[in-house]
Amino acid sequence: MRVRGDTSGSDRTEPLPRGYRIGGWEVTEPIASGGWATVYAGRPVDPAKGPAEVALKILPTSGLAPRQARKVAETARREVELDRRAGHPRLIHLLDSAVISDPDRAFLDGAIVLVMERAERSLRDLFDAGVAEADVARLFAEICEGLAHLHGSGWVHGDLKPENILLMADGALKLSDFGLATELTGTDGTHGYAPPMGTLDYLPPERWQAPLGEHGVEIRPSADIWALGIMVHEVFASGASPFPGATPVARGAAVQEYADGRAPLRIDGAVPPFWRALAMDCLAPTHADRAAHSAESLLARITARSSPPRPARRRWGRRAALVTVAVCAAAATVWSHAVGGTASAARDEPPGRLKVFNADDDCRDRTDRNPQCSLGLAIDPLQPYTVDNVVPTRVWHGDVLAVDCRLPQGVPIIDESDASSTEWYRVRLPAGSAASSAWLPAVRTADHPRVPDCPRPKPVR
């Protein structure tokens, strides 16, 4: 669509004034500016049409030669295409796009505007502020969820870095900035061709020597895995890259020395053993070595830390379950953090309640709501229970949830103690969650609340 922009003032460097209108949206304040684009906070002109807050990413094309303008348009096209074909809760969602027509502001005339979900801050902001080790697992599990979806849908991000990973107001993490995202096109869908661009500190070794073809440079999902390894190191090492050097160019040279076998990988001592091993796998020197570590397998490793399916523990799990039922019937930890007194009071009294049960005994002993001990809730109980199919809200052992109804025949779930069930409960989510309800597998509770059977749910997607 081509929309008419507001007309007042015309300075190239002057920021857009508050209230400047772009289609159905208006600018509230500037957020950030990069080489290509300026990002503003915005809101819908009609509050009923769209979320209260959005981000307006403005890609100017005026003053550019036709080929440059095409390059900007290509960047925007990649973002739109990716959102249309591979949208996911872990990827920033594109709400709208427009082209500004404002002849009085020469700089803005013809600019492409992408309207996106508004995030609160970036992972870089979080890194700068410092991240507790307990939160690292959740953050990286969520990054891996996004990456696993992206790679599974046949795309490579191509510019993964903390600046391009955003945190929403509710704490949910989303990948963003798909201007260099590339669809895998090789005969086996193993690689694609990206523009010869990237961020020096996150480029894998093979990129420094990659030949440039007419379609760009060859890029594989393992490029994102390399960037993930750099970020794992950064989060524990006060933001430092594992590669020495005062400048990105010097660190790039160090990457080459390492990949050529002339220098070892020196992981900072502050990186805990589990994460050190993970980072070293992500930073394997060749693409072939890295290919063994997919976003999915890394995600499994990170989540497995919370509920390791060790055979010796299975019997324990079952026996402990019975004990817990008896003990916890009285000492219920109300899901106060999440549900909140006011929110639940405002809603109807639920037909029943249940208490969450975690089959991992290490987790049952903890009360700190450690991310590694959190359990997921499904979006659709008729779809495979995978990372694509969970709501952002997590629950912990001992949480008491409001139950609406029971679904006898959903996707069968087997828990860590080998208990299996096709039963699911529809549970209510706290006010402010993206959805009002989600689904808990019956194996995640030892309770049998007397609730009505659910109507068969409509497929979510």
Partner: protein
Amino acid sequence: MSGIVVHLPRVGGDVTGALGGDPVTLRLGPGEVARFGRGSATIPVELLLDDEAISRLAGEIRVTDDHWQLSNHSATQSYLVENPEGAGEYLRVPPRRAGAPIPFEFSRVVLPTRRGTTVAFQVFAPDHVYLDPDGMAGQWGSRTVMAYSLDETALYFLVLVALCEPRLRDESPVAVPTTPQIVERLRGHAACGELKARAVSSHIDYLAEEKMRISAPPEHGSCGARRNGKREALVGTALRFGLVREEHLALLPPRASTGLRDRETDRTGGGDGARPGRHIGK
């Protein structure tokens, strides 16, 4: 970043009395070192400079970041590093200087001999990093940048612009200029008066192999067709990724009004003398 390329031309020839030797080309990655000098059984060198005036171990080259360093092991002789494209630009590396950073993309390292002649070898550093034209100063570390950059003041860039000119001017969607056409087109340029077809070809090879690492599409047919494939791939990628843009046409000398095929090339752009060179050290 693939490092540097060192080229020692055939030894012998104009150096009287020295033994003839094959030309040597070394490719060094970041952190790698090459020693040069007269060498011996106990003092091995990667670059053998067979002249009695040159020490057994005369010096060494080390690749660091996107450039290289020169160490002078001689106690008495200074070495010169010339920039062949710099209109006389050079720097002097004094005796016993360790790790002098060399800022030139093209260098000719010159060692004196006793007979008033010199021994020289070339070093190419194609990985020099440049900031993006639309990038902002400062904070470039975490920015998304173009990972291939070209020195827009270098001769190879002029050759690349001349190669791209017909398409930039939308004159010809297919034809890429031939080497003689490029020599003709650049003749009016102050820096290109003496430019020969052979030099144009080696600039094109350097661009394709070292700067942009062109992966030319598989070719079939004669050798001539292969060379053309390389040129077309260069032009295609340079335009597609904005390495050469409309604004760069201003670098070329003015054209005769009837275009490239006109033999009457406008020469008013020449004759202004060489581009200003800077002397770093003496």
